[in-house]
Every structure is written in C-alpha cells, then in structure tokens.
Symmetry: C2
Subunit: 168 residues, 2 copies
C-alpha cells in the first residue's frame, strides 16, 4: 500500500510531464497557423485585399445565424469595441457589410453581411477547410473525434479558468 502523499507527488510529476509536452506544442501550433502562409493564401482566395481582422469579422458574421451587434462581434473575437468599429467601417465602404440601426435599441448597430461579404467569408473558409482536410486526411476517424472532444474541453476549461482570473 502506497501512502497518499507519495501518490500525490507522483501525480504532480505526471502533470508536469504532460504540460512540458503540451504547452510548447500549443505555442508552436498557434504560431504556425497565425504566421504561416495558410491564412494569407485563404485571403487571396477571396480575391479581395482584406487584412486578417477584417476577414475575421466576416467569418464571425457568417458563422452566426444572423446580424450581430458590434459588441457581440468584439466579444466573439476577444477584442475591444473600437477595433471592430474601425474595421466594420472599411468593410462597409467596400460593400461587404451593412450597418443597420437595431430597431429594438437605437444605440446599437446590427452588422449584416452583404452577398459579396458572404461570398468572401465562404471562399476564405473553404480554403482553410480544404487545407486542414489535407492535414487530417490520413487520420483515423476515432483520433479525429477524440481530438475534437479533448480540444473542445480544453478550450472550455481554459476559458472558464481565465474568467476566474479576470474577476479580480
């Protein structure tokens, strides 16, 4: 029989090992996707001279069921209001979104995709999806499902734990 404190120590050790494998990989994955040519190419697939924040707004709107308020877009992108306002301005000038005053609240604006905005969001998404489908092509079905499940839980748990941090 093993005493409790040495069991705890062994568990802490395993956690340490897991994290020293996990965290560098997460960092590298995040850097690879944000700095590699992948997103750049996906933007080229839209045929429009958009920057990353702008295309992110379009994709966010396209993923939503309908128009979103500026504040909702900002929350989903995890950025601050003025950032969204500025990019929505240029997207509107280019005819990719429309700004409509919310009938239920005259302070708020509803941002909705135009047809060409929808087309751009879909061309971008298609390009990224195709690229990742190639990456996952040889993966066994069960591994894919496990990855989605585990990464989903990790994301939720990280988000929840960050909120306890931000409360202070």
């Amino acid at each position: 029989m093993v005493d409790q404190s040495s069991e705890d120590a062994a568990k802490a050790e395993r956690t340490e090992e897991i994290l020293s494998s996990l965290l560098p990989r997460l960092t590298r994955l995040s850097a690879s996707t944000s700095r590699g040519r992948l997103l750049e190419r996906a933007i080229e697939a839209t045929g429009l001279p958009l920057d990353k924040p702008a295309i992110t707004i379009l994709v966010t709107l396209n993923r939503a069921s309908g128009p979103l308020r500026v504040g909702e877009i900002a929350a989903q992108m995890q950025v601050v209001g003025p950032h969204v306002t500025r990019h929505v301005g240029t997207l509107e000038k280019r005819g990719l979104v429309r700004r409509v005053t919310d009938p239920d609240d005259q302070r708020a604006r509803l941002i909705e995709l135009t047809d060409s905005g929808t087309a751009a969001a879909e061309a971008y998404t298609r390009s990224v999806f195709t690229w990742f489908a190639e990456v996952l092509a040889d993966w066994p079905e069960q591994d894919r499902l496990d990855l989605v499940r585990l990464l989903g839980r990790l994301t939720d748990d990280v988000t929840a734990h960050l909120e306890t941090l931000d409360e202070n």
Copy 2:
C-alpha cells in the same frame, strides 16, 4: 453494398463537421491564452518588467540544453532575425543573457542565460504550469495522454504541411 463515391462523400461530410468544430476552438484557445491575463500574470511572477517577446526568448533558452545562436532562437520562435537581435540587446543590458562570440564561427553569437535570466524563465514557466495544472486537475489520466498525443501529431502535421506550402 455502398458504392465508392458515396462513401467518399460521406467521409468528406464528416471531415467538414469535424473541422467546423475544431477550427473555431483552436482560434478561441489561441486568442484566450495570448490575450487573457494568464501570461501577464506569469510575467509578474518574475518580478521583472519584461514584455512577451523577451520572456519567450528566455524560456526558449531555458528549454534548450545550452546556449543558442540568434538564428536558432528566431527559428524556434518562428520570427525573423532582427526581432531577436533587438530583444537580446535589452535582455543583455538587464543582465539576463550574455552574448558570446561562437568560437567555431566568428560571425555567430551564442546567447546564454545568466543566473537571473534562468531564474526569470523558471518563475514564468512555473506560473504558467501551475495555472494549467489547475485547468487539467479534474481530467482523467487517459484524456490527458490522448490530448498530448493528438495535439502533438496535429502540430507536427500542420508544420509539415505548411512547409510544402512555403516551398513555392
């Protein structure tokens, strides 16, 4: 018996579903960790007024077995040389790294951690590890192992696939 083309179509459909779950999660996880207060707090744990690129250099050096050249640090961080040069300059002024000419190649510089640089890297890493250990506290052992395995493979496959993209 099902014909081949409808099997392929079903597989493509499942891939589509997987990706529409996976990619937004990856994006959110990446944004949460980079923009949340987590890394900021870990930097505070060093007691030094460092910015993110500087602490990343220290951690990169600390993870390596010995001193690294400027170019090696840049490659591991997936950034460009001048970026590293600049931050190494300020780290050196603060006594956190030393710049030594490589005896085997007079053009190159070997960057090595000082004792206080090592201490800063370790305080930072300890803070991040502790935070993530809390996130994973309730996870079953098998799920942790699967996550590391699958995320490791995903990272490797993404990196490899990006290289085929960058060859052009």
